[in-house]
Symmetry: C2
Subunit: 365 residues, 2 copies
């Protein structure tokens, strides 16, 4: 069976791309194996993201960024382009693979419920965790999701944060972390933005898109991020002429305010050229959006798959306003996945301008 | 100072409108008093909703519907049409007035944060409650928000639910509630949909919209409803030509899937006639939306305020697909608020067709 998958490990400033290369390729291999064996796009999408969640290198599942209180709280969402069902979870600390829970919630949207109840679309916190247990998702102790790297980053930035906000506990750090000088400021918005996402199309031409994130480092506990926000973190819509799936990454609140994933898909449906459409959406609906602060650097990335069922061909596109974006993609007909470390052109200003690039594919020759 | 406010207590099948009449009027009086004294639209909007949350008759704050596990979990959101800031909370059980927390989160969007952190836009569960405490919101024990009426409804429908789903505990009900016969089915989707909302415009022509809800009776614990969903529960946008604020009510997941509040505002901005635009949005973006199940009854209501700054006049519009909708409105120049119990015309089918009605107002004569 034919199919195509593309994954990303977050748009940001990727200094060491090698840490993502292997896991991106593994995620692509896992997804195409499922597609080859007749699995659906949403099966492949879920499996790819689970691989990325489990690796410990990304900001999703195990290894997620920690909140300001040192806890881990994950978000994830998935959308089925054919049924238009969507499922998301937020603030989960005990679900091994948040994308698995999002998938169960998404599938549940089609279930008939007693008393004409409408199945939930987004679940949060302990309620989401209870539901995950009932649905048979793998559950873990919250500490299991905390990697030593995440803990190290937390200690490093937390001590800087405490100094800047004048928290008296800053000098009492007993973790052996060198206490930074006051005024040694650091931006957190660019730190560890490695949210993950995947887009897939299967043999039947059905698409799916998903995303998973631990949120920004030192986030306020309870914060709901774009990876759990309908219209922001992922979107997928299939029609007879065109099927589109997209997943986003970047400054969460800015992606939420602009509902960027939905805008990308809506834009592509009303345009003849995917590149033009992506450029326009990033410019008009994100960088110049009246919903966003005008003086701020606006960081976003999106991985978008377009599939034309009548021609059995498609395009995978990556667009970002960040310094770099690490993506990978693979067709079921290929043996080796392609890894791309996409840089912003040197003449472009990160957070102020956007680059769009892509690659064509055929599901059947 | 001049201003105008409109509030609602939910679109549904209102059999006894008198229970809403007094509290709707009180909410209007409270909001106009604030507007007269120079308060902003968002001040008035928050105060009106607090009044509706505290009365015990609505499904918001004290008196909210209970979850399947008997707990109370509230959602609320507010949007400032001038700054386009939005704040929402979900799954909160200890915040006396969820709209007060939403307001603090909304205002926080404009705050400069250390280390270029981006302020949160939506907060959930215990993290949201911690934030509320820090922000000085009134906190209560979760049981304080449970009214005897809500507990009575919960017991009544829970025993029916247990019978339908074959829960063996159904016959062990010790609350003295008569155990219903098997097969005595009941729809929950129409039960106690009395989410509340408010829309305001102040002397400066700034608008605000807000909403608050306990969610549907017997909801899955953890469920995030439309009242906490960006684009779904409320929206407000001010321009030099036109300012619009809207708040929605109805089947939460359907309002979320269609992002109805945002669609209503976008539609109104691209139309010359508010009535036509509202009819079209309800038909094209809700009743006929490919995002929603086609065979199902689709219940929604919206209270929309349009203000034309150059003419100092506006319109308040109510639209609904439900049997009825209870709204009220008042200008600062008036002494007595107007209460409207809007029915669906007898030739219309609830959940399948929509009625739009409204009233003009002037801020200055």
């Amino acid at each position: 069976m034919a199919g195509f998958v593309a994954v990303h490990t977050g748009a940001g400033n990727c200094i060491d791309e090698t840490k993502y290369q292997r896991v991106i390729k593994e995620a692509c291999m896992r997804a195409t194996e499922i597609l080859r064996n007749g699995g659906s796009a949403i099966d492949a999408c879920e499996a790819a993201i689970m691989r990325l969640e489990n690796c410990g290198h990304t900001n999703a599942g195990f290894g997620s960024n920690l909140c300001l209180d040192g806890s881990v709280q994950c978000d994830a969402a998935i959308m089925n382009g054919t049924t238009l069902n969507f499922g998301a979870c937020t603030n989960v600390s005990r679900v091994k693979n948040p994308i698995q829970l999002a998938r169960r919630i998404c599938d549940g949207q089609s279930d008939q419920q007693p008393l004409e109840r409408i199945p939930p679309m987004v679940l949060a916190a302990s309620g989401a965790e209870q539901y995950a247990e009932q649905m048979g998702c793998a559950m873990v102790d919250p500490t299991v999701l905390i990697s030593s790297k995440a803990k190290f980053h937390f200690n490093h930035y937390k001590s800087k944060y405490d100094l800047v906000v004048g928290n008296s506990k800053a000098n009492q750090d007993s973790d052996g972390e060198p206490v930074p000088e006051p005024g040694n400021e650091v931006e957190l918005t660019g730190a560890a933005l490695d949210t993950v996402g995947a887009v897939c199309v299967d043999d039947a031409g059905n698409t799916a898109a998903g995303c998973s994130s631990g949120g920004i480092l030192l986030k306020v506990p309870g914060r709901v991020g774009q990876a759990a926000t309908y219209g922001a973190g992922c979107w997928a819509t299939d029609t007879d002429e065109l099927a589109i799936a997209t997943c986003t990454t970047g400054n969460g609140e800015y992606l939420m305010k602009t509902l960027l994933a939905r805008e990308i898909c809506n834009g592509a449906f009303s345009s003849d050229c995917a590149v033009t459409s992506l450029h326009r959406t990033f410019k008009q609906k994100f960088l110049d959006s009246p919903l966003l602060p005008q003086q701020q650097d606006l960081y976003a990335g999106a991985l978008t798959l377009l599939y034309y069922p009548k021609q059995s061909c498609g395009e995978v596109m990556w667009s970002h306003t960040t310094q770099s974006f690490c993506v990978g993609y693979m067709a079921t007909t290929q043996k080796v996945p392609k890894f791309v470390h996409s840089p912003l052109p040197t003449y472009s200003v990160p957070g102020r301008s956007c680059v769009v690039n892509g690659h064509n594919f055929h599901l059947r020759i």
